[in-house]
């Protein structure tokens, strides 16, 4: 027994089996991938209407896997059609009357994407799948690489290689679609292999015992690091805040003690000082939130934030730190211009 559901193809409703639907969906996505832009969308729409005609010819409203496979073989796989689209329009035929250099000798074309691409493999991941992906790319054993990495990390006082890992995480894209998974594994991308990936990926993906072990270990390590770092950053931020606040107050000639400055609120603190405190607070808060969330991710399987979010936060962090430094420097070395620019006239008078 199979689950089937209604699908609207080119304005007509068909009942389509789940596996057949997935294959068809992949096929259309691959076509969109092959034919891009406005022209491409038109081509795909035409092909989609052709598919619905094939379904109509069949006579029965239920579409099964075999129908989709047959139709795909009749219409052609995306990579076969893509070659057609890439050629220059009608150059071949016009050249009858003009002498042209002889075409290069026919060589057996290499399988379109047999070369490997570097992706992360989230399916076999411990943290982000950097090593699982690298092991496909380099053809090395993933467990050996992981052990080597842990040893090297401990040998190099921890941080350099940990940072390297995070950078790789940012830079290497994850293999999510079947096409990407095939490219990662260096297998040719065509509908047969995509279909297999779909079936295997969805139903029978087996995680090896070593991966499970490393994954649990990894979670604990991340949670520990995250917790420690969070406490550390928080403590450091509070300390920094206190030191800097007292410095600013001292430099601006406010004689009241730290305590009264806090209790009196922002009255005594200049506009520039407020901005400074704000940027320090932001600069301290972002890593804090990030690390706490990282800990939650490791412990409770929370979803990872998008790369855009991470990059945006990093940019804000850099801006906040820069702002804090500039503001602080301008307090240390008060030049009238910067001071009036940053702090406004009130403070220039005070200093």
């Amino acid at each position: 027994m199979k689950k089937s559901f209604p699908a609207n193809i080119n304005g007509t409703v068909y009942y389509i089996d789940e596996d057949a639907y997935q294959l068809l969906d992949r096929y259309l996505k691959e076509l969109h991938h092959t034919f891009t832009g406005e022209t491409g969308a038109e081509i795909v729409a035409d092909i989609e209407s052709r598919i619905s005609e094939h379904f109509d010819e069949k006579g029965s409203p239920v579409v099964v896997m075999a129908d989709v496979e047959r139709i795909i073989s009749v219409i052609g796989r995306p990579e076969q059609l893509g070659e057609e689209a890439d050629d220059e329009p009608s150059a071949s035929f016009n050249s009858f009357s003009e002498p042209t250099p002889p075409p290069p000798p026919y060589v057996e074309a290499e399988p379109a994407s047999a070369k490997r691409h570097l992706y992360r493999d989230p399916q076999d991941a411990i943290f982000a799948g950097v090593f699982a992906g690298l092991s496909y790319y380099l053809g090395w054993n993933v467990t050996a690489m992981r052990i080597l990495y842990v040893v090297l990390t401990l040998c190099t006082y921890f941080w350099p290689l940990v940072c390297l890992y995070f950078v790789s995480w940012m830079l290497i894209p994850p293999a999510r679609t079947p096409r990407q998974i095939l490219e990662m594994k260096g297998e040719p991308v065509n509908l047969d292999t995509i279909g297999q990936t779909l079936v295997n990926g969805v139903k029978t993906h087996v995680t090896s015992g070593a991966t499970v072990f490393f994954r649990s270990l990894g979670r604990i390590v991340v949670a520990l690091i995250g917790g420690l770092a969070a406490i550390g950053v928080f403590g450091f931020a509070v300390l920094l805040l206190l030191v800097l606040v007292s410095l600013v107050l001292a430099l601006c000639g406010v004689t009241s003690s730290l305590l009264t400055a806090f209790s009196m609120g922002g009255d005594d603190v200049s506009v520039g000082g407020m901005f400074f405190l704000l940027s320090v607070a932001i600069a301290a808060l972002i890593p804090l939130v990030g690390l706490t969330y990282g800990g939650c991710m490791a412990l409770f399987n929370s979803p990872a934030p998008s790369r855009t979010t991470v990059i945006t936060l990093i940019v804000i962090e850099v801006i906040a730190i820069t702002a804090a430094i500039v503001l602080f420097a301008s307090t240390l070395f008060p030049s009238p211009f910067i001071a009036s620019l940053v702090f406004g006239p009130a403070v220039t008078n005070m200093c």
């Binding site: 080119n10 304005g11 007509t12 034919f35 022209t39 038109e42 081509i43 035409d46 092909i47 209407s49 052709r50 619905s52 005609e53 109509d56 009749v74 219409i75 052609g76 076969q80 059609l81 057609e84 689209a85 050629d87 329009p89 009608s90 071949s92 035929f93 016009n94 009858f96 009357s97």
Partner: protein, 101 residues
């Protein structure tokens, strides 16, 4: 070369009567030309964008409306050019064939 052939065939198909894509596929199949149905669609779109073909939507008795393609004047001119070069080629091949025999 093969694709040039296919273009020529499409223009030939459309010179007398407008047609929609599936109709063309059937006639091409009857003439034993087409292998992969999908190759037709990129070609049609490209020829349309090159101004050789035009299309209009037409309601059909069954199912959704169909895209009927027709030759534009430019397409008709191009067809004449192709026909000339085809005849020249065909003459060459024939002549060479005869001398070989």
């Amino acid at each position: 070369m093969r694709k040039g052939m296919l273009e020529y065939c499409i223009l030939l198909l459309l010179q007398r009567k407008d047609a929609y894509a599936s109709e063309m596929i059937e006639r091409l199949k009857a003439a034993r030309l087409i292998v992969m149905e999908g190759t037709l669609y990129p070609l049609l779109t490209r020829m349309k964008n090159a101004g050789l073909l035009a299309y209009r939507w037409e309601e059909s008795t069954q199912g959704p409306p169909r895209k009927y393609y027709s030759l534009t004047p430019a397409g008709a001119m191009f067809l004449e050019q192709l026909r000339e070069s085809w005849e020249q080629l065909s003459y060459t091949i024939d002549a060479l064939n005869k001398t070989e025999e």
